[in-house]
Each structure stands twice: as structure tokens, then as C-alpha cells.
Amino acid sequence: MQTVEAPPVANAPASTSRLAEEEWTEVIQPRTRLLDLGLADVWRYRDLVLLFVRRDFVSTYKQTVLGPIWFFIQPLLTTIMFMVVFNGIAKIPIGDAPPLVFYLAGVTIWNYFAQALTSTSTVFTTNAAIFGKVYFPRLTMPLSIVLSNLVRFGIQLSLFLLVWAYYMLTTDKLHPNGYLLLTPVLVVLMGLLALGLGMIFSALTTKYRDLAMLLAFGIQLLMYATPVIYPLATISARTGWLRWALLANPLNSIVETFRYGFLGSGTFSWAYLGYSTAATLIILLIGTIVFNKVEKSFTDTV
């Protein structure tokens, strides 16, 4: 029979503990360094990210009759609604581009951003059950959400391309140009911006749930502040503080450039796109830091 051992002495001499430090695979402690983002860990779990994407995709349309066709119906209905309200009734000028193509372009890229942001922002609250039971790099969750939305965006983009090709063949109102090649960059920027903002909000909603309500409203408001249903020129033409406040929105140049490449109507500026890129990266960095800080203890507050 063994005797009951006393707990080992906690404070080992500093020298020996420092030597042993390097042998440990991992040290769990209250706080980690600010910039310790654990990206290597995320890479190790890359299969998980892809499986999450697959799960989202498969589970959304199981037991629906139309299946992935719903991906088309939703932006089409929104576009038609916008055409009726903003073009038909409010008569907001959109230049000489065909309204269907103009609105569909805006709606397609905006939906991608809005959906990704909305679902990322509640990542902690909706996954609390999973997160509370098992550890995997939490960043995989928002990443997979943005990727799922990217797939969805890809499908919706093909719808847009169909409509766009139809108008290219039947009218001469579209003037596509070389900036079209920037589209992948724009898509990535949009995704990263949604990811960054989403992570900031997800971190805050763990404690202050009011933000989730506020965000749903805020995204809607943001759409009207972004040139989705009107060209960027409408903002630029204004004067006073409102002009600058609206121009500060990093989404502007992304949406505008996307449309400019395909439609040839609107404006393009490298400087403005550069500003958006810088803003996106800063927001992404802040988002990742905040997210990593919260993931350690959110199970106690959710």
C-alpha cells in the first residue's frame, strides 16, 4: 500500500523550472500575450474548417424541395424589390446601366458581406454548447462561416454573370473593363472585412447581447450608407461633414469597384481602394486580437 502523497511543492526553484519550460508542449495559463494568435493551430485544424463549411452547406438545404435554388431566389427577389422601390418609385438616379444588372451587382456583393458578418457576429453565442465542451481553435468557426458564405456568393455570382451576359449580348449599355480582374481581390477584401468586424462583434456580444440586436439594425443602415442602391457619385457630390462621414466607409470602394469592372459605370480610384485595404487589415487584426482574448473565458459569461 502506498501512502497518500502530499501535493508537490508548487514553487520550484526558478532555474530548474526555466530549464524544463522548453520541454512542455503547452502551458495553460490565465493570460497569453496579445499577439499570440495561434494561427499555426488553425492551420493544423484546416480539415475541420472545410468540414464545417461542408456541414453548413449540406445541412442548410437538406429536406428542402428546391435545395440550392434558394441561393438564386433570394437575391433575385431582393433585386426586384429594389428595382420597384428605388428605381420605379423613388427614382434614385443610377446612370444609364440597366437597373437589373446594377441592383443585382450591388445586392450580390452586399449579401455576401451582410450574411458573413451576421453569422460571424453570433459565433460564440450560437456555438456555446460545442465551445463549452471541447477545445479546438475557435478561429476555425468564423473562418468556416466566411468560407461558407464565399461558396454561397460563388453561386450567386454565377446568377449575376448570367444576367450580365444576357445584357451584354442584347444591349450595348454595359462597358466591362480591365478592373474586372480585381474581382477576386474585392471578394477577399469583403470577406476579411466581414470576418474582422464579425469577430469584434462576436467578442462583444458574449457579454452584451444587446449588440446582436443593434447589429441587425446596423447592417441594414450600413447598406443604405454604402453605394449599393445608388452610385458612389451620389455621396461624392454631397458637401459638408456627412460627405466625409460616408466616404470613410471602407465598403464604398469595394462595392463601387466591383460594379465598375462589370458595368463600366461609376468611378474607380486606386487610392480609395488602398484605403479600404488598409482599413480592412486593421479591422481584421483588431478583430483577431479581441476574438482571441475573449475565446479563453467566454464560456463563463455566455
Binding site: M1, E26, P30, L51, I130, V134, S297
Partner: protein, 419 residues
């Protein structure tokens, strides 16, 4: 030093009780301000120990406090304790689900934790899809899962339904599939929390066997939390007993289980507080010699023990006899003996302090028993004493039955013939 898999140093975890949400913004600002000035967290100070039975004054509670222990590679550590003792919190911290408030844990090797079976199972997905998803959540790569896929399906025994969405599974099938995935994880350290509470007996046995395999054949370290003490006893070499967020005992599983059984009893020494002055003979205390331990008040069931009754005699007396009774919690007399049993004669006693020693075997079910003794001179009772110290009979967890099935006596049995 190098064979230590987990080293826990001064681990502590502070929780806030009650409503979280109102008033936190001001608390947060207060905290941030304190931290900014390099002061201590103003709310952490008023924390107290974790005892769910008494209502504390503060909103903060140390769910874990000053936890220190280490686990060697290949060891199976059983973590036991009552509800709310902090076992699950400890596992949560170890599996990185939540961060500790103080202290740290050093880990050598990959940890996989099973705090729940089937974490991340999606009801709409098929068994096959869920194996991959769950495996990935637990830290396996796609290639690893693919290479073990057949074994997993085989272990679970749900091959026929593998392409059916798991929402159509019975709960038993669901659990089998879920445990099967985790059984084929290959981490260096496996953390398991009460997952065996589900599934049928055969499957539970399979799971236990699989865990035993993992440690003895594959050299993995296993941390196992359970309220089912027989399986803890069966599976673990070492034990960690937690109580109110602190470590009560750490060491060999037998000792820890012994401690666990005595956690409720107040530490009394069998002495008598109000010793009567006006009797010729009276008791002053009792104790046991059980195995190698002397002066104890607990013994294992079926063990032969020596009772020691201490008496004080103020005048020489003849024709002395004493009676000895053990009562259970329902006041039933379980044991009743007299010193004159077995043809013994009356006793004589001289003035002074003496002890009566007698040996007996206690094949009783594990519980606490009241010691009720009386002494008589010339047929008249001169002292009667019910000790405040209870005799504790401990379990070795040899039976597979629950407490509710254990009888009053605990007899030896052995097979004479197995057909």
C-alpha cells in the same frame, strides 16, 4: 522529471455568481481601472471557497483554488468528489475550454477531452459525415479518420445505418457512434468525464476496456472523472479527491477512495466529552485497530478488527459485564454482544484506567454505525454511553452493484462450480 505528462501549479478559477449582465459594465470599468493602476482585481478579493451548501456574502466564488498535482505519463488518474466539488471545472481548464484565473498547467503531449459524447454531431448529417466532423473537432485530420474509419464503424456496431442521418438514430446508437469516434483518438493525454453514464452495460464495459487499453498498452495518460466508484477503482491507479474546489487527497486510489468515504464525517477521535464522575466504572473512549492502523474509527467491510474500549474505574469491582451494540442509520441493531457471550465469565476490574480489547469481524455493508455501549456491575447498569463518533465501515468497491442493492451484511461468496 521528464515523464510527467501534466503538471498543475496553484491553479485557481474564480466565478461570478448570479445574474451576469446587469452591472457588469460598471464592474468591468472598475476592474480595468484597477488593472491600469496595477492594483489587484477589486472583485477577486472577496472570493471565498466553493461550498454550495452555505450561502456566501459575495458574488464571487473560487470554483478551484490552489490546485497542485502532477500526473505521470501512462498513469490513469481518477478524479472523484461530490457534485460541485470542482471536478468539471478542473477538466474544463485542463481541456482549454476555459482559462484559469490563477496558476498554470504544463502539459506534455496532445490533449483530447471527452467532456461529452458526440460534441458537434449534426442531426441532419449522416453517421459517416458525423464521424468525420466529430473526429476533426476532436483534433484528428481527415486522413487519420479515413484510416480508422472501418475500425470506428466496427466498434460502434451501427454499420447498417452509417449513411442515415443521425437524427434517425436511437439514443443508444447515437452514443455508441459518438464514443467510437473518440475511442480511436490518439492523443497522448485523454480526459474523460462521466461519459460512461450512457449506453448499455455491455457497451460500458467495452468503453472501460478501451480506456484501460489506451493506458496500459498504448502508454497514454488518462484523466477520468466519474461518480461510479467501482469503475474508478477498477481503472485508475491514482486518485484525486476534490472537495469545495480544493484537493482533499491525492495518491493511490485505495487511500483516496478511503478519504472520499470519510469526507462527510466530522473528525472525531472516539473520546468521551462528559465522563460521569459518580459511577464506579465508566467508559472514556473507544478506538479500533484495523489492519496496520491503530487508533482509527473506520475499517473496511469484512476485515477483522480489534475493538478497544477504554474504561476508568474508581473502585475495585467484581461481577462486571459490558454490552456492545452497533446501530445503523435507521436505528436497527446490527450487532449486539455481551462480554459474557461464548461462556465467558464476569469480569473483575481494579481501580485505574484500563482497556478491554476484543476481536471481531465486521461483514457489514459500508455505512456509518452508532457505537452504543453499557457496563454493568452486579447486574445493574452503572454507565451507558452512545458515542458521538460513528464507526465507519468502508467499501473496497468490489461489487458491481449500486448502493441500493447492497444488503445489510456483506458476505464472502465464491463459486464452487461454473457451468
Amino acid at each position: 522529471m521528464s515523464d510527467i505528462a501534466i503538471q498543475v501549479e496553484n491553479l485557481g478559477k474564480l466565478y461570478r455568481l448570479g445574474e451576469i449582465g446587469t452591472g457588469t459594465l460598471s464592474h468591468d470599468l472598475n476592474r480595468a481601472w484597477a488593472r491600469l493602476r496595477g492594483k489587484e482585481d477589486p472583485f477577486a478579493k472577496i472570493g471565498e471557497t466553493n461550498d454550495r451548501t452555505t450561502k456566501g456574502d459575495s458574488d464571487f466564488v473560487w470554483s478551484l483554488k490552489d490546485i497542485n498535482f502532477e500526473v505521470r505519463q501512462g498513469e490513469v488518474l481518477g478524479i472523484i468528489g461530490r457534485n460541485g466539488a470542482g471536478k468539471s471545472t478542473l477538466l474544463k481548464v485542463l481541456s482549454k475550454v476555459t482559462a484559469p484565473t490563477t496558476g498554470r498547467v504544463k502539459v506534455r503531449g496532445r490533449i483530447a477531452s471527452l467532456l461529452e459524447v458526440g460534441t458537434g454531431f449534426h442531426p441532419e448529417l449522416t453517421g459517416r459525415e458525423n464521424i468525420f466532423l466529430n473526429g476533426a473537432i476532436l483534433g484528428m485530420t481527415k486522413a487519420e479518420i479515413r484510416s480508422k474509419f472501418d475500425e470506428i464503424v466496427d466498434f460502434s456496431g451501427v454499420e447498417r445505418y452509417i449513411d442515415t442521418p443521425v437524427k434517425r438514430y436511437s439514443s443508444g446508437m447515437y452514443v455508441r457512434l459518438a464514443f467510437a469516434v473518440s475511442a480511436f483518438l490518439e492523443p497522448e493525454i485523454l480526459i474523460v468525464d462521466e461519459v460512461l453514464a450512457v449506453g448499455d452495460a455491455e457497451f460500458q464495459k467495452k468503453c472501460l476496456g478501451r480506456m484501460k487499453d489506451a493506458s496500459s498498452n498504448e502508454g497514454r495518460t488518462v484523466l477520468f472523472v466519474s461518480h461510479h466508484l467501482p469503475s474508478v477503482k477498477n481503472l485508475c491507479e491514482k486518485g484525486l479527491l476534490m472537495s469545495n474546489g480544493t484537493v482533499k487527497a491525492f495518491g493511490g486510489i485505495t487511500q483516496v477512495l478511503e478519504q472520499y468515504q470519510s469526507i462527510d464525517s466530522s473528525q472525531q477521535d472516539g473520546g468521551r466529552e462528559n465522563i460521569p464522575q459518580n459511577t464506579p466504572v465508566c467508559f472514556t473512549g473507544w478506538s479500533l485497530t484495523s489492519g496496520n492502523s491503530e487508533n482509527v474509527h473506520a475499517t473496511y467491510s469484512k476485515e477483522s478488527v480489534i475493538f478497544k474500549l477504554n474504561v476508568r474505574c474508581s473502585q475495585d469491582s467484581d461481577r462486571v459485564e459490558f454490552g456492545f451494540i452497533l446501530r445503523d442509520a435507521e436505528n436497527n441493531i446490527i450487532v449486539g454482544i455481551n462480554s459474557r457471550d461464548n461462556n465467558e465469565d464476569f469480569l473483575s476490574i481494579k481501580e485505574g484506567e484500563h482497556s478491554y480489547l476484543f476481536e471481531m469481524n465486521l461483514p457489514l455493508k459500508p455505512a456509518q454505525y452508532e457505537v452504543d455501549i453499557a457496563i454493568a456491575v452486579n447486574g445493574a447498569i452503572v454507565d451507558h454511553w452512545v458515542s458521538d463518533t460513528k464507526l465507519r465501515v468502508l467499501s473496497r468497491y468490489e461489487t458491481v452493484l449500486d448502493d441500493r442493492w447492497s444488503g445489510v451484511v456483506n458476505l464472502d461468496f465464491k463459486f464452487l462450480e461454473k457451468c
